[in-house]
């Protein structure tokens, strides 16, 4: 540690104004504050400091995502070995395969995203913000595993530039950056992003786990099966319990309800995420799911799912816990958070059930409500102001 500190002190002058690498000042600053706690303190005025700064908040979210990430690696391997007809492969083999499959995506997401943030910070001579730490881990978890890496790179670059940097960087974005990445992929390359082929990796990862796909194998997600269901009853190969445990095809992070709930617990105990949003998303989904189920028709096969299955299938739970609770793009007033979350839940199920083109609605629901969050907050604040004005006048 001491040697590192000395080294940093030694090269510091080169990066300060007038130094050889003064253009790279923010890179140095970013590295230094990443390695050591900054020793600068505020000099004037009254400041209340919380030990929970942005870096810690971000790291906590990353820790909360770890169960999902680890489970995703296991599940990718599990699905792969099932697809090539080797279900007897050991846990370690499955995990190693998943690790090798996920690693390139994680690297691409971080290199592209952080690269753009670093360049942006250099151009504007600003400090590098930590905002991408979470986005960078969210992207591999919500992008189907078979998406070509260059597509992920293009989508990440698009999202970071057009959903974040042009609004002013971390904390200023209107839309959730990770979801914009997915939405870009979804609308740009629809063939790669849906259907049975997208969600189960059948190729080998760096030559590991090679094999041919077994006859009659289908990598359709439960919601994909629901969307193409014909007839008066649902013929599903997965039960709600399967979806709760999570050994089913799907985007890497979204399959296991258990892993997501562990993450949710970490977020709620540390107080990072708002329980109001989380609770009301589930409440909204449950009520809309019940309504759809009461008026179930074979025309809209997803309406025949029972409400609990609606919550466990697809990306609903993942969106509720990790996407809707993003404090930057969500509503900030307490009443606003209830409305915001509830409508996300309602819209997610509404799109899923009644729009045949989109078997999964959670992504679009969160993005839609992101756009309305400031309006909800404005209305809540105005109502409060009017109420108090009236009370003041009455006296």
């Amino acid at each position: 540690m001491k040697a590192l500190r000395n080294f940093m002190n030694k090269i510091k002058p080169h990066f300060q104004q007038g130094g050889k690498f003064s253009k790279l000042e923010s890179v140095f600053d970013g590295m230094e504050t990443f390695l050591f706690t900054p020793n600068t303190t505020s000099r004037s005025g009254v400041h209340i400091h919380d030990s929970n700064d942005m870096k810690r908040t971000m790291i906590t979210v990353v820790v909360a995502l770890l169960p999902c990430l680890l489970f995703a690696m296991y599940n990718i391997g599990y699905q792969h070995f099932r697809a090539i007809g080797m279900p007897e492969a050991s846990f370690v083999q499955m995990f190693i395969f998943g690790l090798l499959a996920m690693l390139p995506v994680i690297v691409v997401s971080y290199v592209v995203g952080l690269g753009i943030e670093f360049i942006g910070a250099q151009i504007h001579h600003k400090e590098i913000q930590e905002g991408f730490l979470v986005t960078g881990i969210l992207i591999p978890l919500i992008v189907p595993i078979n998406t070509p890496l260059w597509m992920t790179a293009v989508a990440t670059a698009f999202a970071v530039i057009f959903a974040k940097e042009i609004f002013g960087g971390t904390g200023m974005n209107i839309f959730n950056v990770a979801l914009i990445t997915r939405a870009f992929l979804f609308f740009s390359y629809p063939a790669e992003m849906s259907g049975d082929k997208a969600f189960v990796m059948t190729d080998s990862a760096f030559g590991y786990g090679a094999g041919t796909v077994a006859d009659g194998f289908s990598g359709a997600t439960p919601l994909g099966e629901v969307a193409t269901n014909v007839g008066d009853t649902l013929n599903l190969s997965t039960s709600t319990l399967d979806a709760f445990i999570g050994l089913i095809p799907g985007s890497p992070g979204e399959t296991s309800m258990i892993a997501i709930l562990i993450g949710a617990a970490i977020l709620l105990i540390t107080g990072i995420a708002s329980w109001r949003v989380m609770l009301s998303v589930f409440a909204g989904g449950l009520s809309m799911g019940t309504i759809a189920n009461v008026f179930a028709t074979p025309t809209y096969p997803a309406s025949m799912l029972d409400p609990l299955a609606q919550l466990c299938f697809g990306g609903f739970a993942f969106a509720a816990v990790f996407m809707a609770t993003d404090p930057v793009t969500g509503a900030r007033t307490k009443i606003g958070q209830y409305i915001y979350g509830f409508l996300i839940g309602v819209f997610a199920i509404l799109i899923r059930v009644y729009n045949g083109g989109y078997p999964e609605g959670a992504m679009l629901a969160v993005l839609l409500m992101n756009a309305f969050a400031p309006l909800i907050d404005y209305c809540v604040v105005q109502v409060n102001i009017n109420r108090r004005l009236k009370r003041a006048k009455a006296k």
Partner: protein, 207 residues
């Protein structure tokens, strides 16, 4: 013929006073007709023709039009010209006129037209008014062509209908970007052009 003032009327709208980039007019048709290069060019030529001729006509009539009904007179002139353009396109470029569908007819409501008629033709002689019409029409067309170039190239892999992205790219996994065909990307492309334009012309940046 080309005094300093006339030159300004002709060349300013190309960059410094561009109707799309600076005045942010005519955005609706910019988003609607730029998915392919060919309809964009035809649309641009149509707008140049209608704008130049209507500018001249209104300029000739400028002393006889009562100010209270000037908008109606302008609309009648523009509508007549638009119908002529529409008929010509149907006769000689039927496929393109089908692609452009209502947007040729909607030139009538194009903000650039009313803007130029009100702001320039009503208070200038026919020759400068003609140059102003050509200039603004060209300024609009340039943006249309730039936007359509990127949208067709990235969205369909073609230019003017000819495939330009070599087959080996597709063989190695390249795919056309479906989002470029959808209107949101037209808006973002226009935004990028405005971004580049403002960063090159510092005096246009708002503080």
């Amino acid at each position: 013929m080309l005094s300093k003032r006339n030159k300004e009327a002709l060349f300013n709208p190309l960059s410094k006073d561009n109707p799309v980039l600076v005045q942010i007019l005519g955005i609706c048709s910019t988003l609607a007709v730029t998915a392919k290069l060919e309809p964009a060019i035809v649309m641009g030529i149509s707008v140049i023709a209608v704008l130049a001729i209507s500018n001249v006509v209104i300029s000739l009539l400028r002393k006889t039009i009562p100010t209270t009904i000037r908008i109606i007179v302008q609309l009648v002139v523009v509508a007549a010209l638009v119908i002529i353009v529409q008929q010509i396109l149907r006769a000689y470029a039927y496929d393109v006129s089908l692609q452009l569908s209502v947007f040729i007819g909607l030139i009538i409501t194009n903000c650039i037209l009313m803007g130029r008629l009100e702001a320039f033709a009503l208070s200038n002689k026919p020759w400068p008014a003609f140059l102003d019409g050509i200039g603004n029409g060209l300024g609009y067309t340039i943006i249309l062509v730039i936007v359509a170039f990127f949208r067709e190239l990235l969205g369909s892999g073609t230019l003017l209908g000819f495939p330009v992205i070599p087959q080996w790219c597709y063989d190695h996994g390249y795919m056309n970007n479906g989002l470029m065909i959808l209107p949101p990307m037209a808006l973002i492309t226009v935004g990028c052009i405005i971004w580049v334009h403002r960063s090159r012309n510092k005096d246009l940046q708002e503080k």
